[in-house]
């Protein structure tokens, strides 16, 4: 076992609920596992898209959505394990420079869904430094309520993204809050929310 590096103290459910306060026109994509449960637990919303698979794809789905909807904030809420599977995507996002995209990684340094094995971030990889070195200029290392409030305001700023935040959460587990698993239903309701046609 390595030395635990990123151990945070924030409660993940409290942190996600805080980020989504006064969300306005924000569109949300969640990474599979606990990030989906946390977001659903904070309150279901037509502008939420929950992933139940596609590991490594959440931030990139956020990129496609952010490019299609430049006048709305797009927030990706995912976990350290999910983001680690798609690290190359941070470079892809950095060079596109979508000003309305925020990637918020709930970082507990562990793979929570599969038995709390330590992840690379728990073993020393610094996701904020990685995002910076990929070329994402706006970064947040969130360790307390004040940091969450700053990030919450920044998400609404459509002129300074893309931004990347690591939210240092404790690795306590919560009861699963089961968001809808029917991808077509969730997809259609977001399109209807945006005034787009569905089949």
């Amino acid at each position: 076992m390595g030395v635990e590096m990123s151990a945070g103290t924030l409660d993940r459910r409290v942190a996600v609920k805080s980020l989504l306060q006064n969300r306005g026109k924000t569109l949300v994509i969640t990474g599979l596992g606990s990030s989906t449960y946390d977001t659903f637990a904070a309150g279901d919303h037509d502008a939420n898209f929950y992933l139940w698979g596609a590991m490594g794809g959440a931030a990139l789905m956020g990129l496609g959505l952010a490019l299609a909807q430049p006048d709305r904030p797009v927030l990706v809420i995912t976990g350290d394990g999910e983001q680690l599977m798609g690290l190359g995507g941070l470079v892809t996002i950095a060079v596109q420079k979508p000003k309305n995209l925020t990637i918020a990684v709930l970082d507990n340094g562990h793979f929570g869904e599969t038995g709390m094995q330590m992840s690379h971030s728990g073993l020393g990889a610094d996701l904020v430094a990685i995002a910076k070195s990929c070329g994402i200029v706006q970064t947040h290392d969130v360790r307390d309520e004040a940091g969450l409030a700053t990030l919450r305001d920044a998400i609404q700023d459509l002129s300074t993204g893309p931004r990347f935040a690591a939210i240092r959460i404790a690795n306590a587990e919560h009861e699963r809050a089961l968001a809808p698993r029917d991808g077509i239903h969730v997809r259609n309701r977001m399109r209807q929310h945006l005034g787009l046609p569905i089949m």
């Binding site: 994509i29 470079v91 399109r191």
Partner: protein, 179 residues
Amino acid sequence: MGETVSAPAVDWPAAIFSELKAAGVSQISYVPDAGHARLIRMAHDDPAMKTIVLTTEEEGIAIAAGAWLGGDKSAVLLQSSGVGNCINMLSLANSCRFPLLMLVTMRGEWAEFNPWQVPMGQATPTVLEAMGLTVFRLEKPEETAEMIANAAALAFSGEQQVAVLIAQRMIGRKKWVSK
């Protein structure tokens, strides 16, 4: 005809670009391939096209899903060697019935010099069909416009996942020595 396949009468990359525009595609993502080089250049030269260079092909599958969620249409350009990288991410398009249009330049077939390209080239249609895609094969430059138009219609109106495999014969023999 001999080697004239390398200079076809039909400018098929231009035909692809024109049909993608006609279908309303506004995002093109790609992992570079020599066979797609002209199409990629056209995409970058068009200020209305959001052109996205990827680090690995499955990123394009996720981008296309997000694009469509927000009202954009997105096409993914890749080489057959990248199809294997996409397998699990294709479940996103399949599970949520996200329209997907992949344009795959084939390696490992016509006059292939590099044996390392052969296994994934041979497996490409099988792998895509195993993940539920409809696979078209483009062999003749003069059929390009019709095939791209109909593949795009199936993808974006029929909400299907579609791959068009562009035969290596259309791309021509790879030159290994620069002149």
